[in-house]
């Protein structure tokens, strides 16, 4: 292992073993999971009464679906044309149109049209009730035996349809913002770690011992690379843990809400609670994340993830060496302020530009901000889900590489003078002079 390898190893291990790293790594996915789950939960607990307009071409379920505390079912349009009814209610976010086709007993598909994705409660409620009604209808006519009922039950399927153009946009924007924000956060978080690491070495006075063994540049790069690996490790763990957390959470919420929705209804209709039926319907109905999942599946994930890693590393290296330079120039954390703000201004600016970029992801502003290395990492990630021409991506990436080579060179020059200078209040002018010192 070379010396720089030793430094990387130390920087990596000491950070990964820290309690704060472990806590952050474990908490991250929980917060993240919360971000996904909470909106759908909130939707269910909100007090607004939601209207469901039933278009029942089979005419079987007229009046069968009872209103409950949250949902009011309107059957007055039951025999009207679906398109007419949809047009009537398409603008209200509290309205749903449930479509039951004529051949519901043979086909399996119910459709629920809405502007916003329906909550878990609603879809579960509808599927359970209708399943029960079908069962009741079939048993009542004595036409079929139980095995066939079971077959129907399994096939009842509620497809939730939200206007696809809006939903796509939302998901795409969401992904863009999410990744942009992640990059922003990661760059800040880990650049600050570099800065603090450099200051620790300087204030504890160990730096002179180390740079009598290795070149200052090796020490700086070792630290930057080591911290980058910590960041990547955290990112990877978050992805893995997020899945591990999201899956059980999904199951839990689905089962909890289905119990609430199902139990009273099945007793009321005099049906014995059929565990089999519950499972099938819940499973089939989806839980409001379906259109998110649909949107997600339209995104080129391998490209997205590899771009994320590239722009994270690029942006991090770009800012990292500048932050290392700041850390080397000061004696105490409080002195960092005057340098931190100007250095991180472009990064903050790029984050503040999210709205503008979002409104016009292919506009001139978006283009330039995604090309200039200092703002490219965040802005390019926001643009990515909307599709970016290959040449722009290539140009942005090449400039980013040039950019971080440049800042590394600059940072290293300040760094090697700064780390050996104690008890001096450093000014910008001073930093400028250091650039021209000879080794």
């Amino acid at each position: 292992m070379g010396k720089i390898g030793l430094i990387i190893r130390r920087e990596y291990l000491t950070r990964v073993k820290k309690k704060s790293f472990i806590v952050m790594t474990l908490l991250g996915p929980l917060l993240f999971g919360g971000l996904f789950i909470i909106p759908s939960l909130l939707d269910d607990v909100s007090d607004n009464i939601k209207n469901v307009y039933v278009v029942d071409q089979s005419l079987i379920f007229r009046d069968a679906i009872k209103n409950n505390g949250k949902y009011r079912f309107h059957t007055e349009y039951a025999d009207q044309n679906l398109d007419v009814v949809r047009k009537l209610f398409k603008d209200s976010s509290n309205s749903f149109v449930l479509f039951i086709p004529q051949n519901i007993l043979e086909s399996k598909d119910l459709k629920l049209y809405s502007k916003k994705p329906p909550g878990v409660n609603l879809t579960t409620y509808i599927t359970t009730t209708l399943s029960g009604e079908i069962q009741k209808a079939l048993v009542g006519t004595n036409q079929v035996d139980k095995s066939i009922i079971d077959k129907y039950l399994k096939l009842v399927n509620l497809e939730s349809v939200t206007p696809s153009s809006v939903s796509d946009q939302d998901v795409t924007s969401g992904i863009g913002i999410l990744f942009g924000a992640l990059i922003y956060m990661f760059i800040f978080l880990y650049s600050a770690q570099i800065m603090r690491g450099v200051m620790e070495e300087k204030t504890s006075r160990i730096v002179e011992v180390i740079i009598s063994s290795v070149k200052p540049f090796q020490l700086m790069m070792g630290k930057i690379v080591g911290v980058a690996m910590v960041g990547l490790t955290q990112f990877m763990l978050w992805i893995v843990l997020s899945f591990a957390v999201l899956m059980p959470m999904k199951e839990y919420i689905a089962s909890r809400t289905s119990e609430q929705a199902l139990s009273p209804q099945s007793f009321k209709s005099g049906m014995p609670t059929n565990v089999m039926a519950m499972k099938t319907t819940v499973h089939k109905s989806g839980d409001g994340m379906e259109n998110v999942v649909d949107g997600l599946s339209r995104i080129n994930w391998p490209l997205m993830i590899s771009c994320f890693i590239f722009f994270f590393l690029g942006g991090y290296l770009l800012y990292g060496s500048l932050f290392a330079a700041i850390g080397s120039a000061v004696d105490a954390e409080t002195d960092t302020q005057q340098f931190m703000l100007p250095v991180s201004a472009p990064l903050i600016l790029s984050f503040a530009m999210i709205g503008t970029i979002m409104n016009n992801p292919d506009g001139i502003v978006a283009f330039w901000f995604s090309i200039i290395p200092f703002t490219a990492p965040v802005v390019m990630m926001i643009r990515m889900p909307f599709g970016v021409p290959v040449w722009q991506l290539a140009l942005s990436m090449s400039l980013l590489v040039l950019g971080f080579i440049g800042t590394t060179w600059l940072g290293a020059k300040i760094y090697r003078t700064g780390i050996l200078l104690y008890g001096k209040k450093v000014t910008w002018k001073e930093l400028g002079k250091w650039l021209f010192y000879k080794g």
Binding site: E200, E201, S204, R205, E208, S212, S213, K438, G439
Partner: protein, 315 residues
Amino acid sequence: MSELLTASHITKQFQNHKALDDVSLSVPENSIFGLLGPNGAGKTTLIRIINQITGPDSGEILFHGEKLHERHIERIGYLPEERGLYRKMEVGEQALYLAQLKGLSRAEAMKRLKYWFEKFEITGWWKKKIEELSKGMQQKVQFIVTVLHEPSLIILDEPFSGFDPINANLIKNEILELKKKGSTIIFSTHNMGSVEELCDHIALINKSRKILDGPVKEIRKTYKTNTYEISFEGNMLAFTHNLWTGAELLGKKEEDGITSATIKLLGKTSINDVINSVLPHIQMHGLKEVVPSMNDIFISCVSAENVVLSNHLTE
């Protein structure tokens, strides 16, 4: 005795001042070399240049006759004046890390650390964090790390600052032992007592210039001023009277009836002449030559130099 390190005409200019101005010196192999000088004289800059932390503007350093090169780093051990360790890191892990940076393998470093930790009786500290240790304890660890890779040149910048007398003594003994084992030691200090005790050679730097260097014994010989201290019982007046013109009385003190007189020989008078002339009149108790201490030499050189410099400036 061959030279381990030769610095020739080293000049280093910082933005607003010259840290080193045409400094040349040579450090003989297997010697203890004292680098002396007041604060800000340029000692640390010179040491940093030898450690390749920074480079000279001009001049050249030879290590074992070769131009100083990156590979020499592993043969130099350096204890800087501004020293410290990673506070949150465990002692053992940290020592291993620093040793590996100096080119030792992990296994070899482990073996040697075991030896040193036992020698300094600090094996119990291995798993402790540095911040849990007292300052003196940290210094011990730091010293071990400095010499662990058995460098042929050990550079200690103010090694005794911050040590309590017991640890300072421990380090002093280690320095002598390392010399016995064949190492060459450069140390910079203000502590003139330790210079007399330890150093074979010195170089004195003041205001970025070297103003004096050579073997300690010779320097002290050159700075001898033919001064003697004679202690006796008897009539002081008779004593002074019989000095004649051969010597000058510099001072006297009396204690328990015994007078100690400090005299300086003048002209070609030898101490024997003086003794012969005063002996009949006094009861001799002792005679010793007053050799200037390094401290005296240091002060006289530095202040003389400063006077010259300031005269030069006012001209």
